[in-house]
Symmetry: C4
Subunit: 230 residues, 4 copies
Amino acid sequence: MKLEKLRQEVCDANLQLKESGLVLFTWGNVSGYDKNEKLVVIKPSGISYDELTPDLLTIVNLEGEIVEGELNPSTDTPTHLELYKSFPGIGGISHTHSTNATIWSQSCLEIPCYGTTHADFFYGAVPVTRQLTAEEVENDYEKNTGKVIAERFKEIKPLEVPAVLVANHGPFTWGINAAKSVENSIVLEEVAGMALWTKKLMEIDKSIPDYLLDKHYLRKHGSGAYYGQK
Amino acid sequence: MKLEKLRQEVCDANLQLKESGLVLFTWGNVSGYDKNEKLVVIKPSGISYDELTPDLLTIVNLEGEIVEGELNPSTDTPTHLELYKSFPGIGGISHTHSTNATIWSQSCLEIPCYGTTHADFFYGAVPVTRQLTAEEVENDYEKNTGKVIAERFKEIKPLEVPAVLVANHGPFTWGINAAKSVENSIVLEEVAGMALWTKKLMEIDKSIPDYLLDKHYLRKHGSGAYYGQK
Amino acid sequence: MKLEKLRQEVCDANLQLKESGLVLFTWGNVSGYDKNEKLVVIKPSGISYDELTPDLLTIVNLEGEIVEGELNPSTDTPTHLELYKSFPGIGGISHTHSTNATIWSQSCLEIPCYGTTHADFFYGAVPVTRQLTAEEVENDYEKNTGKVIAERFKEIKPLEVPAVLVANHGPFTWGINAAKSVENSIVLEEVAGMALWTKKLMEIDKSIPDYLLDKHYLRKHGSGAYYGQK
Amino acid sequence: MKLEKLRQEVCDANLQLKESGLVLFTWGNVSGYDKNEKLVVIKPSGISYDELTPDLLTIVNLEGEIVEGELNPSTDTPTHLELYKSFPGIGGISHTHSTNATIWSQSCLEIPCYGTTHADFFYGAVPVTRQLTAEEVENDYEKNTGKVIAERFKEIKPLEVPAVLVANHGPFTWGINAAKSVENSIVLEEVAGMALWTKKLMEIDKSIPDYLLDKHYLRKHGSGAYYGQK
């Protein structure tokens, strides 16, 4: 069986997503990417988390062809593939309909950087995509979802803002591996929840000063980071 | 004992409703329908979920007469019967006072289709009934509750929008069997919660485009569905 | 030891209040009343629920004198005593700082009867007291809390609306016994939570029609009730 | 090994903070202070709560030099040190990004004393600091965070209002020891949550009368307190 280590990582990440409480029924999926083989390991569509094991995962290539596995991959697979093709350096992607992040997505509003909790993980607002056109929805909907995400990140570095809100739909997050993408889903949900009430309390969109955003993001990320153990 | 398989299914569905966290005390009930026998298996009134077993369920005919069982059926039985008579093809009904769905019911507002989470399960807004008149409340209240639901669905297909909000009261959901009706109660509660904040964020009722509603509903339902395993 | 059965009931009710999630730390208390002996069994002040046993409860008479027990009774005991003296027929009282009911109390707003969930338990709005005067707070504060509650119920039957919001403070509930008072605390918290969003959705205070309130309250209470088993 | 008893207390307090549900991942830290030795025991940076044991904690002096321990202390250590230097009598400090308290911090709004739940623990509004300047953020950020907190308390007694909201960031709480600082974090989170809806319901900032604040705070604190057992 191919990519046994990645299969295990992606299976673990899917189960962690479920345990985090972000997923009702089967409404979520995590994939992982092997950049050498150019292959994606992803959750099969509509399978319960209770019965998920590493060998049930589906492996597809970047064209979406099944390379190994007897089950259909997640319906959202074409979205994952577009992101792996567009965002060099990412190794895992998560998709959920988690409550708070979905509220912002449905409202077609980006999540402003209201505080340092946000700044610790996302270097600026979490962007929302434009709405897809009727034609983009009717043909290759899931692939076009990936394309509008990539379009939105033309001037944003994906690993500095590892999350997006798809308009009318819900969030995708990513990271250097599957586990990191799940962590970012959990953080996004918490940050999205805080932002709801923050917006109502302030009644105006007032983000934190840029110098504070820089400080918080950069004390955790990059060459000058000093959070945690060396 | 009659309908042993249906008794087991309806008992399981009642217990799942309780485990889902949607029900305080005994504030909920699930029934199942055998279309050949034209009989309804339903939770008895005021019985704790802890002591519920398949043989305690009550069986009534479509006129509401007890066919088997020593306990009174749920007070809401006449509502269930009206729905089975009016909505061909449904095989199970759930009623709860789940927090978010009840908030919309109390507010006498339908839940707009704000996003794809909603569109995956409900093909358009979840409708609210008109308020019952004083006379409808005073005589045959529970039966009239069923009638105003049926009245509201004259131009909606019940299996495409398997949920309703009874004005001032709370939600009923249904499906092809008892388990599906419980699933729809759980989804309705989640969608109703997301819609509260979505409405506040947007401050205007802006549903998703029709072409996106069609795409999401139809990729999960009907002859062209491609979600899940074949 | 006096009133062993009532001690057990009141201990169980205090523990149920804790398990219901309505109480942080020791922020709640339940008492029970023996109308023949005219004695009140109540939780001792500041004792953790983990170590609560029936024999640790304090027994006081209606003048607030300790009749049995080595621990101080709850600081709120004088409030309980005023209610037992003013409301004939009640046999148990609960006090909490449960989140949603406290929000309404702090806001000095009654909870309108927005729906049938409310109507099933409370026959009209859950009233809020007037604010206490500076003098009422400085002298005999807890006793005066009971007096302003009783004042508010001059034209309301306590067993038809078994709950009150003390302005700036929090809820008290009661019932025919200690267990019923806890049930009413749990229902009040749920109803209070639903009412927050209902108020925001409607933006006006619009209660349900009287005929619907009557129907729901009276199908569960009084001589014509038909909910549950005979 | 130094300060074994304090190590145990601080370890226990860190674990209690985690169990309280206030902390996602490693987003929180508790320290304790030995006033005789003038030493601070604090959680190491970025270490999971699952693996935290008393011997892994770091001991620093008031200049921030590591006196004992192989792991970097929490990134927030300079903030803790400023508070121990500025607030005589405190023996423990907690920092979290708990949801509701962070919402108020992000909104740069103090939490008004809306009710007696608040008054039982905080003698007046929970203050918010001014925003740090760009220069204060760029150099000695964590130390300056402590300084703006101390600045805000020039006319407030820290043990009467044992909590602060750092603008754009989140809460710090303290107490006579580490366990008390955790208790204050839990209470602050509950009070902050109640205050969100209270503010929306009232739409004006209306605190409780001073005489009621005095009564509630003083019946639990100071020489005239009469809550709990003697």
